[in-house]
Amino acid sequence: MPQHMKRRIIAGIAALGLTASLAACASGDPLGGNGSADLGSLTIGSQGFAESDILAQLYGQALAAKGYKIDYAPSIGSRETFIPALQDGSIDLIPDYAGNLLYGADPKATATSTVDVMAALPAVLEPLGLVVSDAAQAEDSDALVVTKEFAAANKLESIGDLKPIAKDITIGANTEFEGRSYGRSGLEKIYGVTGWKFKAIDDYGGPGTLSDLLKGNIQVADIYTTTPSIKQNDLVVLKDPLNMIAAQNVVPLFNKDSYSVAIANVVNQVSNRLTTAELMDLNEISAGDSKPSPEKVAKDWLTKMGLL
């Protein structure tokens, strides 16, 4: 509890600082306001990693352009922290990921496809006083990834194509992968891929996993779909036609009392334009040499998309 409070206080202080700087921005923004009156204010949280900060800025700046007063509460932390923050009104909106949101709220859930997950969410979120708007096409999920050469040599397109070569491959992923629904049991039951070796590399598909994949120490790696290294190294994401891996589309999560159709319409415009490739690009720009702020990354994209 004290740690929880401390985090919120820190988030609050950070939000205050950002409010001040944003208020200064908004008043000087000729596009801000659209000439309409004050539509109310919203506090947008983020989960404490670059992609989440960018998403918060995308939704926040699009709303600010329509005349909402936006405060940011960056780096609130994981689901255990931001769900209570939404419920007590410390924040009104936070970008989340559909599958993890569903399994977090209902550990017994079984839906995996985007359609099924989105259909299951409202009933699960209702008792928590939460609601979601449209999911973006953009998805940041686990993915089984191979090199282009390995895919060509073994005619790999989807996960099931691994079946004939399963005994000769090593899959590299975080320790918990083996026990997940898309680990040993899922690969065997859903795609019949069994007999593979496992190499635990606990860097969440980071540089170590990547170098092992490129060197051929592992043949298949678990790398998140929006990781720029996929594009930079021409890696092939194996298709998952049977939805073994749960959909993790970006989905704006609201406190029910903060939600309105008007707000959802603005937020949906952003979601509708956001694809996995676009989100990967935003991550790449954000991690680039000039280390632009999430605010700038989001602003450039919204401008490019004509949403500001």
Partner: protein, 245 residues
């Protein structure tokens, strides 16, 4: 009770062998420890002996190894992996970096603690510098040299648990798997195994220390005296000192 469950996990024969067994991981853990300690000794002992014997470069080496101690080992490992990729040698390198400072410190302070008069006597009776080092300084410094090696070994054994994060195995895998699956019995069992290995290694080295240190020399008896090489003392008096002793 967690402690008893962890002990039960350790003594269960089903957990001894196999891909994720205690024995193969213990062997790997010992392999990482041995390789890293070997590399650290190859570098640390000569450097420590040289600066201890000559007194040259003392401040530089102490400042350098002191700053090495402040390096976060896991951070350094991830940094190196950015350039080298995964493998055994990045781990051995960072563990050696961790172990070299206490080894140098032990070797250097061991030699430094040898009574100057004893060394001057050895020189006076015609011993070469190598003979002084090998027959006088090192035997007298052994308690502190071995103390440094013991301390380095313990640090390596405890820190080698990070191998499990970077595609290797070792006893750290039990900690990582336990945490990943929220199975704290396994994590605790891993912690017990690492602690037990460290205690066993320390006990073994304590025994070695007892066996190889010449009789009459113990940690307390080799007193530090101020280094005074330029301060000429009559050779005769020190000579009688050593033959008398």
């Amino acid at each position: 009770m967690l402690f008893l469950e962890a002990l039960a996990f350790i003594v269960d024969p089903a957990n001894l062998l196999g891909e994720k067994g205690i024995l193969p991981r213990l062997v790997d853990h010992l392999l990482y420890t041995g390789l890293s300690l070997g590399v650290a000794l190859l570098i640390g002992i000569p450097v420590g002996l040289i600066i201890g014997h000559t007194g040259k470069g003392k401040n530089l080496v102490i400042a350098l190894t002191g700053s090495f101690r402040a390096l976060p080992t896991f951070g350094l490992l991830l940094f190196i992996i950015l350039f080298t990729g995964l493998g055994l040698w990045p781990l051995v390198f960072v563990l050696a970096v961790l172990a070299i400072p206490p080894i140098i410190a032990g070797a250097y302070s061991g030699l430094d603690s040898v009574n100057r008069e004893t060394i001057d006597s050895a020189r006076a009776i015609g011993m070469t510098e190598w003979q002084i080092l090998g027959k006088v300084e090192i035997p007298l410094a052994l308690p502190l040299i071995l103390g440094g090696i013991r301390s380095a070994t313990l640090q390596i054994i405890a820190t080698a648990t990070i191998a499990g994060y970077v595609g290797l195995t070792g006893l750290g895998r039990f900690l990582i798997e336990g945490l990943a699956y929220h199975d704290y019995t396994i994590a605790f069992a891993g912690a017990i195994l690492v602690a037990a290995l460290a205690l066993a290694a320390d006990g073994l080295l304590a025994l070695v220390q007892k066996l190889v240190v010449p009789p009459g020399v113990s940690r307390g008896s080799a007193r530090t005296t101020h280094r005074s090489r330029w301060n000429f003392r009559p050779a005769v008096s020190t000579g009688t000192h050593i033959t008398g002793g």
